[in-house]
Assembly symmetry: C2
Homo-oligomer: 333 residues x 2
C-alpha cells in the first residue's frame, strides 16, 4: 500500500517520542527512517523500524544518549556515540565533518561506540545536499569468512562515497558483501532468488538462495579474496581512526550494531584545484560519458544514486510503497 511521506514520518516520530526520544530527535530520526523507504531502501527504513524500536526497548540503544566530543585537532574530531541511536550519531558526525570542511577544506569526524547507522547512503546524501564530497564507512560484526575459509572473521563494512551534482548527486552506498543482510532479507521477504551468487550454503556450494544464506551466514564478499581483504582494511581504518572497537571485539557483544566504529570525511569542492568549468562541469562530463554506455538489452545504465532519485520522485508523488503487514505492526508499536 502507498502511504504519504508526511504520514509515515509523523507515525514514526510518534512511536519514537513514546519510546524515550526527545521531540526534535524523534523528528530527525523519523525523517531518516522515512527517507530510506522514500529513496527505495525499505530494508534499512520502515522495514527495519520495528527491530530498531526493539533495540531501544531492550536497552541496546539509548534514545537519550547524545554524542560527546572526545578530542578536536584541526580538521579532525573524535566523538563517542555513547551507544545512542546510530542514525542520529552518524548524522551528527557528518554534520561535524561538513562544518570542518568549510573551515579547513577537509573535515574528518571519527565516531566510536555508536550503534547501527541503518542506511549508510543517508550520510552521503547529507554531504552531497550540503554541496560537499562525502566519504564514510563503518565496521560491523563479522559476517564473511576470509577467502577459502568457513570462519566468519570480517565485517561487511559498508562504504559510502558521495559527490554533489546540481542535477542529482552521485552516491555509492555498498556493503562489501555481494548482498547486504538487508538486501538478503528483502529477497527472502519477496520469496525471490538472487540475481548472482551471494555466498556459500551450509554444504560449501555457491548459492543464489537467500534462505540458504540466512542459514549458513557465509556471505560472499565482492570480488572474492579482494573484498575480504578490503573488509579487513576498512575495519583497521575505522578502528584506528576512531579509537573504537574492531570487528573482532564487536562480535562478542552480541547485539547487532552495538559499539560500531565509523569515519566521516567531507571535502569542500571549493578548496579543490579548479579546472576550466569548475567542479560541476567535470562531474557532469564524467556522468555524461558513463551514460554513453548502453546495456546489452538496450536499456540505459544507471550511475550510483540515479535510481534513488527516481524512487524518491515516485514515492513523493504517489506515497511510499509499504509492506502492509509491516506497516500495521509499526502503527501498533
Amino acid at each position: 500500500m502507498r502511504v504519504r511521506y508526511e504520514h509515515v514520518h509523523w507515525e514514526l516520530a510518534r512511536v519514537l517520542r513514546a519510546n524515550g526520544f526527545a521531540p526534535a530527535r524523534a523528528e530527525l530520526c523519523a525523517q531518516l527512517f522515512a527517507n530510506a523507504s522514500r529513496d527505495g531502501v525499505p530494508s534499512h527504513g520502515v522495514n527495519r523500524f520495528e527491530q530498531f524500536i526493539g533495540a531501544v526497548r531492550d536497552g541496546t540503544v539509548d534514545p537519550a544518549a547524545e554524542p560527546a566530543l572526545i578530542s578536536a585537532s584541526g580538521a579532525f574530531e573524535q566523538w563517542d556515540g555513547r551507544r545512542g541511536p546510530g542514525v542520529l550519531n552518524a548524522h551528527h558526525a557528518m554534520t561535524r565533518a561538513i562544518a570542518l570542511s568549510r573551515a579547513h577544506g577537509w573535515g574528518i569526524a571519527g565516531l566510536r561506540n555508536t550503534t547501527h547507522w541503518m542506511r549508510g547512503g543517508t550520510y552521503g546524501w547529507q554531504a552531497a545536499d550540503a554541496g560537499v564530497i562525502g566519504v564514510c564507512w563503518t565496521n560491523t560484526r563479522a559476517g564473511m569468512p576470509p577467502w577459502g575459509s568457513t570462519t566468519l572473521r570480517i565485517g561487511n563494512n559498508p562504504i559510502v562515497i558521495a559527490v554533489p551534482r546540481a542535477s542529482g548527486a552521485i552516491v555509492l552506498d555498498m556493503a562489501l558483501t555481494q548482498f547486504s543482510y538487508g538486501a538478503i532479507n528483502e529477497y527472502r521477504r519477496r520469496g525471490e532468488t538472487l540475481p548472482v551468487d551471494g555466498g556459500y550454503d551450509t554444504t560449501g556450494q555457491l548459492t543464489r538462495d537467500p534462505e540458504a544464506l540466512a542459514a549458513s551466514k557465509r556471505m560472499l564478499p565482492i570480488g572474492a579474496w579482494k573484498g575480504a581483504g578490503l573488509g579487513l582494511m576498512v575495519d583497521l581504518l575505522a578502528t584506528l581512526i576512531t579509537g573504537g572497537f574492531a570487528t573482532h571485539e564487536l562480535s562478542p557483544i552480541g547485539a547487532d550494531g552495538v559499539g560500531y566504529s565509523q569515519v566521516f570525511v567531507a571535502i569542500d569542492p571549493s578548496a579543490l584545484p579548479a579546472r576550466a568549468g569548475g567542479v560541476a562541469e567535470v562531474v557532469d562530463a564524467i556522468v555524461d560519458d558513463f551514460h554513453g554506455a548502453q546495456q546489452v538489452d538496450g536499456r540505459r545504465v544507471f550511475y550510483p544514486g540515479e535510481r534513488t532519485l527516481e524512487a524518491r520522485v515516485e514515492n513523493m508523488a504517489h506515497g511510499i510503497d509499504l509492506d502492509l503487514e509491516i506497516w500495521r505492526r509499526v502503527q501498533a508499536l
Copy 2:
C-alpha cells in the same frame, strides 16, 4: 632463473641511465621495479620493464620531467607530474603526503598528469615503512563496462591501503577488476586459466580464459555492479581532488598510463586517538583474530601483504625468480 636482487637492480639502473635518467633517479626507479619482482609482483616489475623503456623511447614518458608543485594549503598539496616516470612521481607524492602527515596528522598529495605507477602497492609499503597509514588510488583508461553493458567506460582504478605493523605491514593493493591486466597477462604467459570468472568473452559469456579476456577486454569488476559503481566514484575522487584528467579523457590519449590522476593520503598514527596498548596492539589483535580463521583445506589464511613478505624473504635469500626470456630482453635493452 634466479638472479640476485642487487644484480637486477644494477642492470635496470644501467638501462635507465642509458635512456635519459639522471643517476639518482635511475637508482630509485630501478629499485622500485626490482622491488615489485622481489615482492612477487613481476607483472608490474621486471616483466613490465621493457614496455616501460619503450614508452620512454617513444616519448610517452619523459625521463627528465620532475613533478612540479601547483598549490599547497595546510595538509593538502597538489602536484603536476608533467608526464614524467610514474613510479618516481608517485613515490614523490607519497613522500610529500608522509611529510605533511608528520606536521598535520594527515597529509594529502594530489598528483595529476602523471604516467603509470606500475605496482600500486609500492606506495603503500612506502607509507607503512615510514610508520604511517597510507591510502592511495589512481584512475586509468576505461577497461570495464558499466554493469549489464558492453561499452568500456570505467577504469580498473587500483586502490591501495596500507597499515604499518612491526612484524609486517598489512598492505592491500587491488585493481577493481576481478583480475588486473598484469595478472591476466601473467596467466596468459603461464598458459593457465583463472581460478574464478574474470569477465565476458566476445560472445557475452562469463569466462575464466585469459586469452578470451585479452580479446574481449570485457573485464568483470569485483562485485559486478558494485565494483562498477566503485570504479566511477574512484575516478570522480581522483579527478576532483587533483584537478587532472578523468577516465573518459584518458582513453582518447591512447598510450596506456599517460595523464593519470592519483591521490596519496598519509595518516600519522601518533595523531590518532590512543587506545590502551596503542596502535601496535590494536593492529596485532585484528591480525591475530583474522589468522584464527582456517581455510577449508586446512591451510592458513593470509592477510593482504602477508605473502608479499614471504616472497620478499625468499627472493632476497635465493635471488629473484625471473622469466629467462624476459630477462635476456631486458639485458639487451
